[in-house]
């Protein structure tokens, strides 16, 4: 931690500049390690609230295989999270089906075809899309998509896997587009020029040169989109129907892991079994997003070492 000011000797050793240097150094250091401190603090908190219970008292076999989520049932509550896990997975899966083609397509257009103003306007719009609060997306799902789906598919309830998946797809698309576009931009122009010099058409350049060399970055983009979908709460709570159900069609109602925590934690007595099980769901979510982000990171690194 040798500071540039610390090396200075002479009469202004403790002068104003020296102090500013020190302050700036401490602030920057604090900012730099804050992310690590927070992530550790969050993990410790969640683990302390739920890990002991999850490992000792919770019947993990029931937890992962039973769709019966009856945390307040008398006399014996049942904590089966399968329906919730399937709910989250189905909504996220559908969201990816919707958003991957869209966002990769958008990234290719913005990165490879669009020029000048078109490109700038598109980039700003995509970033604006990412800034829409999730509760607003939920509102759109509830108020716009729901009646639409009821009309189109002639079903009695418009909130469903399909509704939540479409909304979540739209939410995840901007992030995936931005990261995918970065990945495409990271492909050196020399690759494109070399391909073009050999007579390749634009389409051949993109398909056979740019996309393969940006592959890892694109996979990372998709994985981060999956992580986003997995952790999204409010929009899914509002658009999925919030119903404990093993879905058999995209028009069925489901309930997500995140939505369950959001809906139940507020009115659960602290320290009760129900409270601890909700924290064990938090641990599950944390682990899954952690693994997804780790994979994404490994893919990005893979791209760098491959070159």
């Amino acid at each position: 931690m040798a500071s540039p000011g610390g090396d200075r000797s002479g009469p202004d050793h403790l002068g104003r500049e020296w102090w500013w240097d020190k302050i700036a150094q401490v602030l920057l250091f604090g900012g730099g390690i804050s992310a690590i401190v927070f992530i550790i603090a969050i993990f410790v908190f969640i683990a302390q609230q739920g890990l002991g219970y999850a490992l000792v008292d919770l019947d993990l076999a029931t937890y992962f295989t039973s769709p019966e989520w009856r945390p307040t049932s008398e006399p014996e509550p049942v904590f089966g999270a399968l329906a919730l896990i399937v709910g989250t997975a189905s909504v996220t899966g559908l969201a990816m089906l919707v958003s991957v083609p869209f966002s990769i397509g958008a990234a290719i257009f913005i990165g490879e075809f669009a020029t000048g103003r078109t490109r700038e306007i598109l980039k700003v719009l995509v970033e604006l899309l990412a800034a829409i609060p999730s509760v607003v997306w939920g509102f759109i799902g509830l108020m716009v998509m729901s009646p639409l789906l009821m009309d189109v598919f002639d079903v009695s309830v418009g909130v469903s896997v399909l509704n939540a998946g479409l909304i979540l797809g739209l939410m995840a698309a901007p992030i995936m587009t931005t990261i995918a576009e970065d990945a495409l931009k990271a492909v050196p122009d020399g690759f494109r020029e070399a391909a073009e010099a050999m007579g390749a058409t634009r389409w051949q350049v993109i398909r056979q040169v740019v996309l393969p060399s940006a592959k890892n970055g694109l996979v990372a983009a998709v994985l981060l989109g999956v992580g986003r979908g997995f952790g999204e709460t409010m929009a899914v709570l509002m658009a999925s129907g919030h119903s404990i159900n093993m879905p058999t069609s995209p028009l069925d109602q489901v309930r997500a892991l995140t939505a369950t925590i959001a809906a139940e934690l507020g009115e659960t007595a602290r320290g009760s079994d129900h409270y601890r099980v909700l924290f064990s769901i938090g641990i599950l979510l944390f682990l899954v997003t952690f693994i997804i982000n780790l994979l994404a990171d490994m893919f990005v690194r893979g791209k760098k070492t491959a070159r």
Binding site: S73, E264, E267
Partner: protein, 291 residues
């Protein structure tokens, strides 16, 4: 829900700042917490009581019946509001803490069964409700009840329920499915009494339950046939007071041990005609018929 705290808090702040200068030392504060169903009424009581007894301030907060009860057991509040009776587990916890909870019935709430305004159903029995909501119940289509949803609406019964730790959820389970009954999973679980009514209003095949106070002109309240009388009873304040409506629940307040002093005076006032007129004005039933 939390928005509702603001006027009460503002009033409390005002009351404290006015009264504090005159006689700050003798002011007593009653902590009151619990059921969201009772929150509106509890706040109205607290506001009115500040004019009845300016020496006493009642601080009201929500959070749910379970939250209020555990706070009462832990001694952090004087009065717990509850829209259900205390559970065995809570009674045991109170015993371990050396607390003997005393229960006061401060009013009644009829849980109305709501359907879409266009639904032609005329009445429903408790058995039919159990068949619709209960685990293993066979009723999944309106045609099984002899009802046709008009305008080509879907025949499927869309069950609307509440999140599983609300007092309303617990009470409806006890009243309709029995103490150890289980709900059929797959209902749409809404996060508030009003959300249930809103969803039913917009969904032709839906059925839901919620406090009578949340009734609007855009939904239909189904008269319920109880096993005792065999006659359909429309949910109303009157039928809740005379206990003919089968799904009416007592609204409760719990104290840790027999109340004394300011808390006892407050409870007496709540149960007086003045206090009971306030709960009636909020759409719930008083403990007895008022003049």
């Amino acid at each position: 829900m939390h928005r509702n705290h603001l006027p009460a808090l503002a009033l409390l702040a005002l009351a404290t700042s006015c009264g504090g200068g005159v006689n700050g030392a003798s002011r007593t504060v009653i902590q009151n917490k619990g059921s969201d169903t009772l929150l509106n009424v509890a706040q109205a009581w607290a506001e009115a009581y500040s004019t009845v007894n300016p020496e006493c301030t009642v601080a009201v907060s929500g959070g749910g019946s379970g939250t209020g009860i555990s706070a009462m057991i832990n001694g952090t509040v004087d009065l717990a509001n509850a829209s259900r009776k205390m559970k065995e587990r809570e009674l045991a916890a109170a015993g371990e803490n050396g607390v003997t909870p005393v229960e006061f019935v401060v009013g009644y709430d009829a849980l109305a069964v709501y359907v879409h305004a266009a639904n032609p159903i005329e009445s429903i029995t408790m058995e039919q409700l159990a068949g619709i909501y209960g685990d293993g119940g066979s009723l999944v289509r309106w045609s099984q009840l002899g009802v046709t949803i008009p305008n080509g609406g879907s025949d499927e019964i869309v069950r609307v329920s509440r999140q599983n730790n609300s007092g309303t959820f617990v009470y409806f389970r006890e009243a309709v499915l029995g103490r150890e009954g289980k709900y059929k999973l797959g209902s749409l679980d809404m996060h508030g009494s009003k959300d249930v009514v809103d969803l039913v209003e917009n969904t032709p095949g839906a059925i839901g339950y919620s406090g009578l106070a949340y009734a609007t002109d855009h939904v239909k309240l189904v008269p319920v046939i109880s096993a005792d009388s065999g006659a359909p009873v429309t949910p109303s304040v009157d039928t809740a007071v005379d206990r003919t409506y089968p799904i009416a629940r007592p609204l409760l307040m719990y104290t840790a041990g027999q109340p004394e002093g300011a808390v006892a005076e407050y409870l007496d006032w709540i149960l007086s005609d003045d206090g009971q007129r306030i709960i009636l004005a909020k759409g719930y039933a008083p403990v007895r018929a008022l003049d």
